[in-house]
């Protein structure tokens, strides 16, 4: 796989901090996301990765700092507004619409990006999304499950669906929180394959939080290592692998 990317930053994260009571969960975190890259975010449990995501996507309001999308400061935007402008995400815990079919899950994920709310009221229920959605279902090898209720799928399939939902609207950047978490070995290769496919063929830009090192080192172009809410280092997978500070953090030197 070629790991070449443009140098155009699409998302700029600057000085994000978030404190819960006496716990400084995220401390002055800054990084850029370049168009077309996969950026890995790693770090031990409780180092603030998920809190960072929640700050970037609007679920939490950070105490400090800003996030820019294509040069526009979106720090004050609501989560749906950020989503409509191209910041998609998944959550650490699986979040799908269990009582809806796989197809409807994906349509829900795609529909708010089309037309205004008033126009959507008078659009056909499928909104012309059928082709696009079926195409994605096909690529994720879930064609036989398209009309199945999402709640009836296996955990691995649900995890895939969750990831697909973040990507169906072709977001500027997709923030994926542990796409491989809890996925068994056979499915794991599948998830990795789909993510790489979307990046290489569709140019999808992704920020991925992951605990599975093999998985993230194989996928990411660049990796940000976090520890105790701060960015410890940033670099290519090789640089990160060989950095003594990273080893120290993971061996519990603190």
């Amino acid at each position: 796989m070629t790991k070449t990317v443009d140098n155009e930053p699409v998302v700029r994260v600057r000085n994000i901090s978030k404190r819960f009571g006496g716990n400084q969960a995220v401390d002055d975190v800054s990084f850029d996301v370049t168009k077309g890259e996969i950026l890995g975010v790693i770090g031990p449990n409780g180092c603030g990765k998920s809190t960072l995501f929640n700050c970037l996507l609007g679920q939490y309001r950070p105490d400090n700092g800003s996030i820019e999308l294509d040069g526009i400061d979106v720090s004050d935007w609501s989560p749906p507004r950020r989503a409509k402008h191209g910041l998609a995400r998944t959550f650490q815990l699986l979040q799908i619409f269990e009582t809806m079919s796989v197809r409807d899950n994906l349509k829900t994920a795609a529909q708010e990006h089309i037309g205004s709310a008033a126009r959507r009221l008078f659009m056909r229920p499928d909104m012309g999304l059928d082709g696009e959605v079926d195409d994605l279902i096909e690529r994720f090898r879930m064609a036989h499950l398209a009309d199945e209720l999402a709640g009836n799928l296996s955990y691995g399939q649900q995890k895939l669906l969750d990831t697909a939902m973040a990507l169906v609207s072709k977001p500027a950047v997709a923030f994926l929180d542990e796409p491989a978490g809890g996925v068994n070995l056979t499915m794991l290769a599948d998830v990795e394959q789909q993510i790489r496919d979307l990046n290489v063929h569709d140019g999808a830009t992704m920020v991925i939080v992951e605990h599975n090192m093999e998985f993230i080192f194989a996928l990411a172009h660049r990796i940000v290592v976090m520890a105790e809410g701060r960015v410890l280092m940033e670099g290519t997978p090789d640089e990160v692998r060989n950095d003594p500070r990273v080893v120290e953090v993971y061996l519990g030197g603190h």
Binding site: S78, P80, T99, E112, G182, N184
Partner: protein
């Protein structure tokens, strides 16, 4: 180089823990109890049957004549067919439309040979049915509890009646000459007034997810009652207003006699059902369902949770307002007491007992609080006790309401037939 990160390698990656994954393959199948915004003909047929049963029940009210008997049998047949035929097939589609047509025809032809008293009941059923249809949009589809439908019914009634009288009113020392608009023109005004008011009170209440809308609408109901009761110069207070029905003609037909006025209510009921059906089958319906399923996820995918729930609440309130305009003409006398919170409780019970999140549920619920309630009058004030008990038992054994139970029954029968 790889050994430096050996420690953090996740357990799943080295395979040792892969077998400890919980067995998610054997999850219990989930049944989608809420019908997904589809017109469920069997339920509508069930309503027809209920209506027919109510019509033939008491001796001396309508009488059991051949026509009713025929209706009864055909509706019974339709229910049977509905239970047996899966809706997603072509035959199912046909059954769907035939049942709907049967229901419409039944409601249209029902007044023939009926007494004025029966038609008053059915007129009230149509009007209150529309309120419950609106409440079901707010509660069943948008997932927010509004405790103000009776208040909006009242606002609709007073708005419509006051704009129809052409009299002087005094509010806060200012005397205003109100116009004498035709009755039909006051209905959309009542709807719009209620929608605007509901946006006004819903906007702050829906800022955060939670039961806040219920609290705010409850306070609003009490406030509306106080205003209606005390603003003597505007509403004539507790003395109420005798409503003059003097200007309601459509295509030269006088709509005021009880039999004809029933059609006005019926048309409004169909209108409400169409509005809700339209919203639920449009992409909005999918967004509303997603919000009920998992609002956090919906929001992260671009679904503006607040706007969608607010609109669901506003449309539901608007439908109650328009129903209020008709209600005032149906009962010919309006007073603040008719719009107190206890009326809301009736609507609430009807919505829940009928079946939240279904299209036919409100019709069943509406018939419970008007038609069935009328036959429980002999119990005096006890009827609310019986009705309340009934709903409590239902909440325990069938929380999805009568319509939901029926859907479940149909699913059960079809599973039996399949295997």
């Amino acid at each position: 180089m790889a050994e430096s990160v050996n420690v953090p390698q996740s357990k799943a990656a080295d395979g040792s823990d892969a077998l400890d994954q919980p067995d998610f393959e054997n999850r219990r199948d989930k049944i989608a109890i809420v019908d997904r915004g589809r017109l469920s003909p069997s339920l509508i047929a069930l309503v027809s049957m209920l209506g027919a049963a109510v019509a033939v029940m008491p001796v001396g009210r309508a009488g059991f004549d051949g026509v009713i008997g025929l209706w009864f049998l055909s509706v019974l047949l339709l229910v049977g067919v509905n239970v047996a035929v899966p809706l997603d097939t072509r035959n199912g589609q046909m059954v769907r439309w035939i049942s709907t047509a049967t229901f419409v025809a039944f409601m249209m032809l029902f007044p023939i040979g009926k007494s004025g008293a029966t038609m008053t009941d059915f007129g009230l059923f149509a009007i209150f049915g529309a309120v419950v249809v609106g409440m079901n949009l707010t509660q069943g589809f948008a997932g927010q509890v509004s405790l103000a439908p009776a208040a909006f019914l009242g606002i609709g009634s007073y708005t419509s009646v006051l704009l129809d009288m052409g009299e002087e009113v005094t509010v806060a020392g200012v005397t205003v000459d109100l116009p004498d608009l035709p009755f039909l023109a006051t209905i959309p005004i009542a709807i719009v007034v209620c929608m605007l008011l509901s946006v006004l009170i819903g906007f702050p209440a829906l800022r955060v997810r939670g039961p806040w809308l219920a609290f705010v609408t409850l306070a609003f109901s009490l406030l509306v009652f106080l205003v209606l009761n005390n603003e003597d110069g505007l509403t004539r207070g507790s003395r109420g207003i005798r409503v003059l029905r003097n200007d309601f003609e459509i295509f030269g037909i006088d709509m005021l006699p009880t039999h004809n006025f029933y059609y006005a209510g019926l048309f409004y009921l169909f209108f409400s059902l169409t509005v809700v059906w339209w919203i639920v089958r449009s992409p909005w319906g999918r967004a509303l369902k997603a919000i009920r399923d998992n609002s956090g996820r919906a929001s992260s995918l671009g679904v503006d949770v607040r706007n969608y729930t607010l609109l669901g609440f506003a449309v539901g309130s608007g439908l109650a307002g328009g129903a209020g305009a008709l209600y005032a003409r149906q009962v010919e006398y309006i007073e603040p007491r008719s719009y107190f919170v206890n009326q809301t409780i009736d609507f609430f019970l009807a919505t829940v007992a009928g079946g939240l999140g279904t299209l036919a549920g409100p019709l069943i619920g509406g018939s419970l609080i008007t038609l069935v309630a009328d036959y429980l009058r002999f119990t005096g004030d006890w009827y609310r006790v019986w009705f309340g008990l009934f709903v409590m038992v239902m909440m325990v054994v069938a929380p999805e309401g009568l319509a939901g139970s029926f859907n479940r029954f149909r699913a059960w029968v079809q599973k039996r037939v399949d295997s």
